[in-house]
Amino acid sequence: MKRVYVNETWCLGCHLCEYYCAYANSGLNDMVKALKDKEIRPRLTIEQEGTISFAVSCRHCTEPLCMKSCIAGAISCKDGLIVIDQSKCVNCYSCIMACPYGALMPSVEQVMQKCELCATNSHGQPVCVQGCPNKAIVYEER
């Protein structure tokens, strides 16, 4: 399955991926309208320390501990893609307790959100990857 992979030596720490992510999941088709004066809650996190930086998003694990720990049965695996049914989520944070990568976080609406590889929004392909100016994140089969 194609996943988002990180090449940290190429990451500039520019945080553009976070903006592209927030836009892609906003449901709006205008990036300015989606982001201007809004609190953004991207589904990926940039870690930064000194000269090192990299983006962390859901690994779509073959052993999805978030799914197995979800008390609501809200997280499922669809052909390898780990997705949340936000209507079932009660915001208990069990998935945050379980994910070894720290890849889930609450949305503005106070339900859990995670990277779904833009497969469940209108874009179809990870917009963070398309927006990365230095190919520090790629979407490919490995």
Binding site: F54, R59, Y93, S94, I96, M97, G102
Partner: protein, 410 residues
Amino acid sequence: MHYLIIGNSIAAAAVIEGIRSQDQEGAITVVGEEKQACYARPLISYLLQGKTDEERMRYRDQAFFDKHKVTVLTGTRACHLDAEKKTVALDDGTTLAYDKLVLATGSSPFIPPMEGLEQVKNRFTFLTLDDAHELTAAIKSESRVLILGAGLIGLKCAEGLFGRVRSITVVDLAPRILASILDEKGSANVQAHLQQKGLTFHLSDRVKEFTANEALLESGTIVGFDILVVAVGVKPNTELAKEAGPLVNRGIVVDHAMRTSVQDIWAAGDCAEAPELVSGCNKVLPLLCNAYLQGETAGKDMAGLTEPFKQAIAMNAISFFGLHVITAGLYEGEEKLFAQEGSYKRLFVKDNHLVGYILIGKAVERAGIYTALIRNQTALDTIDFDLISRQPALMAFAKSVRQQQLGGSV
């Protein structure tokens, strides 16, 4: 091949997934005592709050059971197990033969003997959907609710009832709330938050005697109430196993593959007592994630794939009125404390390993990175522990490890 699953909750659903990952053909029968289809049990407090409904509480939908060709008998109790003949007798008079059996019978509320308890008419427990419905039907906006037990169940019940009743009073024998998962400071933090909402606590106290609408406490305090909820703890449902021979201690004793001491019988979930990672001792861990992982392990093993589940630890994620608490592991060894306004973190380190943590408030972000350190028994001298203590981050790992985490298939 006939796989028989006694119980129809989380562990049972996981057993089905485990079996079907290996065996598409064998017949599977589920016997569930409750009349409802498999539901997400811990959501009953959210149901009271109106944050979910019965439809959304379904843990696995009907399509799941259809797809996996599972026969589900709800509202049916298994009352006798004959391990020699390999049969289970049901309360509807029928008997089911099995080739492989898993006991996923869960746990029941523990109700200690208390004087006058039988005089209390509006008396409830809080573990099942039926309990939630009965409680909902009984409460009125002017009800005074008394909850015995300031543990996870009692306090989630309190949160669920909050705003729907006049008052909520909680009594516990322990000197602090959530004593099984929090330290003193953590308990005090959460208690202050709950008191601010209007809950009343009587700690280090117990009910000496009940009358119909009053509880006389050991301290002399009298608490008037209209509704009583007993939530002092749960006990594993081990009756079937006991009479059939599998070794029962506190729970049904199983190994890493969830096998009991009797051939062709497995156990998983709240009823099972399995080896815990950090202590190395057998423990009953009545937690949803362990129920799932144990069930899945049992299902796979029953169908021929032995993948021992060796990473069982205690872990809890719970919240009250927006205040989140995540805890894991054991609280022993050296401590590292990080406390500031709105955030509380205590890490426990022993022999170069993280063995436990308590996180409250903002400190819960990315908690799973800590959980993984415990579960994977990561040697702390291989990571930047100072950095990861301050904030859970993959940055703390060696670059080669990170390359595997973020650049490899996991």
